[in-house]
Each structure stands twice: as structure tokens, then as C-alpha cells.
């Protein structure tokens, strides 16, 4: 990378002939501090001002706990569904040639591009008892809109591209010789997939899962329309933050936000760990 190797001893950066380090890093750090760090530390500062016992009371309040459970539970379920179908979609897109492949490939990114509120009202209209899908499910006694199941549906929509887009490039890189070797050695196609291919894909699948999960936990726009927002049942943590704000309860709002923030940090850390681990293992 660099033309001259760094001399011995600790240096903040290795020397390089490329100019602009001070300017770009300075700008990056200033902008990052202004837009992200100061506002976020304001949140942490507000929470710290609460004191431990107040914070603990907010964190262990039954409604808070339930809302976090709903957020994490539904995000987990949706991410799990996306792992299965997302991997299948990625597999089909890479390995099969079929008419409309390009269109499906492009469609996968729709949840990135479609505003969440639009997704929310569209899904709600679809799955409400009178909606196109809702009225098919209603006679079967399946309720989707206004139940936790509705939240899962919205989060499947939101999370799908994360899994597909992380797994797809890795499938593209798989060397077909490995599969041929496995087949030559007498492995059935099922064995080749389950023992040879899947372990190689596991880190990417895990990363995709973690990304979809992290996004799902914090999702708001698409969920509030379809959730029913019933406290203790279908009320998600971000909504509870908004409700606490509306009740002038800043302490509770910031407390819950801080818990979620800490969990987001943790998720990012896990994602980075998986990626480091997989890079080490699979190069």
C-alpha cells in the first residue's frame, strides 16, 4: 500500500506520498462529531443525569421489557425467515438462468429504495382483514395485520435485501471445482450442498442475518401502521420511545433509547467480529 515502510516505533499513521490526509480525516472527524457524536452523547448524557435507580426502574418496567421483547423477538423471527428465503433467492439469482432474472435481481433492492411509510401502508392494506391477502387468510382464522405476525411480515420486507446482498457475492465466488471434486468423490448433490457449500457460506449468511436483525430491531415507519400498537403485545420499542415522548416522559424515552443504542453497538460489534473471523478463516 504505502511506498515507504513506517519506521520502527509507534506512529499514528504510516507515511505515504498521497496528500490530503490531514484535510480529509480532519473533515471526516469534524462532520462525524457534529452530526453523530455530539447528538448521541447528548442522549447518553441525559440518561446519565437520570441516576442509576431511575434508569433501572425504566429498564425493568414491564412495558419496556415487553416492548423490547416484541422488537427483538419479531426481528429475530423475520431475520430467520429471510435467512432461508434470502439464501434461496441469492442462490437462484447466481446459479440459475431464467427469464426475468434481472428484474428479480433489481426488485430485491426495492425495500432499500421504497420509503418505509409507503411500505407500511401498502402492507397494512394488503394484510388487513379486507385486503387482497387478508381476505384470503381471514377464513382460515389467520390474522396478520395488527398482530405481532404483521410486524414480522413488515420486517421480512425490510430485511430481505440485507441477506441476499451479503450472500450473493459469496456464492458468485464459489469455485465450481470444489463441487465437482465433491461429486467425483461420490457425494450426492445434497451432501455437497450441506457439507461443502453451506459451511463456506455460513459467515456471509450470519452477517446477513445480523444486519437484517439489527435493522429490524430499530425499524419504525413500516411497522407502526401494521402493528396494532397494543401495549404488552404488539408495541415495539421505538414506538414506546415516541409514546413516552408524547407523555412528556423524557426520562423514560431517553432511557429506552439508550438501552436500544447500547444493543445496536453490541450488534455492530458482533457483525464486525463475524466478518473478521470469516476473513481469517476463509481469506
Amino acid at each position: 500500500m504505502t511506498t515507504t515502510q513506517a519506521e520502527t516505533g509507534w506512529r499514528f499513521r504510516q507515511t505515504s506520498v498521497i496528500p490530503g490526509f490531514g484535510l480529509t480525516l480532519g473533515f471526516t472527524l469534524t462532520y462525524l462529531t457534529l452530526i453523530i457524536l455530539i447528538p448521541l452523547s447528548g442522549l447518553v448524557w441525559h440518561t446519565a443525569a437520570l441516576g442509576w435507580s431511575d434508569f433501572w426502574a425504566i429498564a425493568t418496567d414491564r412495558r419496556t421489557v415487553k416492548a423490547l421483547e416484541v422488537s427483538f423477538g419479531t426481528a429475530l423471527a423475520a431475520a430467520a425467515v429471510n435467512v432461508v428465503f434470502g439464501t434461496l433467492v441469492a442462490w437462484a439469482l447466481v446459479r440459475y438462468r431464467f427469464p426475468g432474472r434481472r428484474v428479480i435481481d433489481a426488485m430485491v433492492d426495492l425495500p432499500f429504495a421504497l420509503p418505509t411509510a409507503v411500505a407500511g401502508i401498502a402492507l397494512t392494506s394488503l394484510y388487513a382483514p379486507r385486503g387482497w391477502i387478508g381476505n384470503l387468510l381471514a377464513p382460515l382464522g389467520i390474522k396478520v395485520a395488527y398482530t405481532p405476525l404483521g410486524i414480522v411480515i413488515a420486517l421480512i420486507f425490510i430485511g430481505l435485501p440485507f441477506v441476499v446482498r451479503t450472500v450473493q457475492p459469496i456464492i458468485e465466488e464459489i469455485d465450481k471445482e470444489v463441487e465437482e471434486a465433491a461429486a467425483t468423490l461420490g457425494a450426492s448433490r445434497f451432501q455437497t450442498i450441506s457439507r461443502v457449500l453451506l459451511p463456506g457460506l455460513a459467515p456471509a449468511i450470519l452477517t446477513g442475518f445480523a444486519l437484517a436483525f439489527a435493522r429490524g430491531v430499530g425499524e419504525y415507519g413500516s411497522v407502526i401502521f401494521i402493528a396494532g400498537n397494543l401495549p404488552y403485545v404488539s408495541e415495539i420499542a421505538p414506538l414506546l420511545i415516541v409514546i413516552r415522548l408524547e407523555e412528556y416522559s423524557y426520562a423514560a424515552a431517553t432511557g429506552i433509547a439508550t438501552i436500544m443504542l447500547a444493543l445496536s453497538f453490541l450488534m455492530l460489534l458482533v457483525i464486525n467480529l463475524i466478518q473478521t473471523w470469516s476473513r481469517k478463516r476463509y481469506g
Binding site: M1, T2, F12, R13, Q14, S16, V17, I18, F21, L23, T24, L32, I36, L37, I38, G42, L43, L88, V89, R95, Y96, R97, P99, G100, R101, V103, I104, A106, M107, V108, D109, L110, F112, A113, P115, T116, A117, V118, I121, L123, S125, L126, L160, T166, P169, E180, A183, R189, A214, G218, E219, G221, V242, L245, A253, T254, M260, S264, M267, L269
Partner: protein, 296 residues
Amino acid sequence: MVDLSFTAAADTRDTGTTASAVTENRATRWTVLAVVFAFIAVFLLLPLILVFAEAFKRGWAPYMEAIVEPDSIAAIRLTLLVAAIAVPLNLVFGVAAAWAIAKFEFKGKAFLTTLIDLPFSVSPVISGLVYVLLFGANSLLGPWLKSHGIEILFAVPGIVLATIFVTFPFVARELIPLMQDQGTGDEEAALSLGANGWQTFWYVTLPNIKWGLLYGVLLCNARAMGEFGAVSVVSGHIRGLTNTMPLHVEILYNEYNAVGAFAVASLLAGLALLTLVLKTILEIRYGHAIAASRGH
């Protein structure tokens, strides 16, 4: 429109002959494809179709009426304004951050990258909340700014700030892997030939990253125009003044104006489709340049 399904036949011939060694049997393939089509149709296509179906339920005239209505126009303008401020700022930031991170080795780089990623995993509601805490009437800054005639919360600056926060990583995340992949060889060559830093950037680096950059800007813009949660917390929901398009959709929806709500929603959905088409064109034509930045 481009023909989006033209690559079909090129490399399919070998599947018939070498058969089961590196691919599944026909029945499995059909099942997988059927599942994939069904899944995409139900989860992605149907919501999209529904938006347009509801928008045009009563025909063209009510649709146009809903869109040219002054409050809708104001919402469209505000959304454009917010994106016009947030996207260029994040573009400049993204280029600067990618330059610093990709072209140099320094301590704490991994940590910096994690911080840049942070807005991806922070709930949009929290992104709005932090600005309420920072600029609200109960904060330190809010009353001081107000006494100097500067409005942030419940006004356009607050909406812009929340949007910048949410769309912060998009450009940087596209560029960092791309520029890391390209290394520093081209730049070093230009510098050794006597170009200065700016010339090197304009004539060497920028042409190398332009498609990845455009790609990041597209995604950044789509999110900036569509953000709901963060903006909802900091907007005062004043009709014609601080309602962005997604907020206006919610308001119309709550006024039993389904056609209006879906009409404005269809504009946003149209924007999403346009984004996808442009993105696909970029991928088809410049796939090699973007491939490195795919799937972060």
C-alpha cells in the same frame, strides 16, 4: 426502458450436459425457482402493485388532483429541498472519509469505520430523538438559538439534520471498499508525473470511483426522500410547511383520503423504481467497477 432480461442464454448450455455434478436436478431447480418467484411476488411485488392500484382506483383525475393540491406540492418541494441539502453534504463527507480511510493506514481506522456505520443500526426514532434532546426547549442550546432567531426543531433545519444523520453512511460505505480495492497506484503515478493533489483527485481518482459514487448517491437520495421515523419526531407536522412527502402520506391516510395518500405514495414508489432501474443500468454497464463495493 431497458430490456432487463437479455442475459438468459449465454452460459446455460453446460447445465444440461454436466448435470448433477455442479447443479441440482431439474425438479429441485423448478421448486427453488417457484419458491423464489412466489416469495418475491408476495413480499415485494404485491405491495408495489397495491400502491399504484389504490392510487388510480378512481381514475386519473382524482390522482392528479391529489398531487397538484397545494399541501402536496409543498410536501414535494420540502422533500426535494431536504434531499438537495442532505445528499451533497453526505457526498462530500463520503468522499473525504473514503479518501482518508482507503488511501492511508492509521491507528483506530476500524473504530472509525464502525462509527460511520452506526446510523445504519440506530433506530430512526432515536436519530430524531437525539435532536429533540439537543435543540428542544428544555435543552441548553434550544432556547439560546431561539433567542437569536434560529429555529431548528419543528422547522426545516431539524428535518435536514435528522435526514443527514439517517443517510450519513450511504456514500462512504459504497466508496470505502471500492477505493480500498483500487489501491493507491494510479494516484502515486499521477503525483510522480507532477500533478498536484487536487488534480490527482479530479483527473485520476474521481473517474475511477464515479460509478460507485453515483451508486451511493442514488441510495442516499432514495433514503433521504423516504425517511419517516426520524423526520416524524422532529417535524411539527405543520401542513404545507414542515410535512415531507412520507409525513404527508401519513396525514392523508389519517384523513380517510386513501386515493390522496396512495397518490403521493405512488410518487415515492415511482422514485424507488427509477432508483432501481438506474441502479441496474449502472450494474450492467459498470458492474466490474461497482462489484467491489457490493454487499457490505
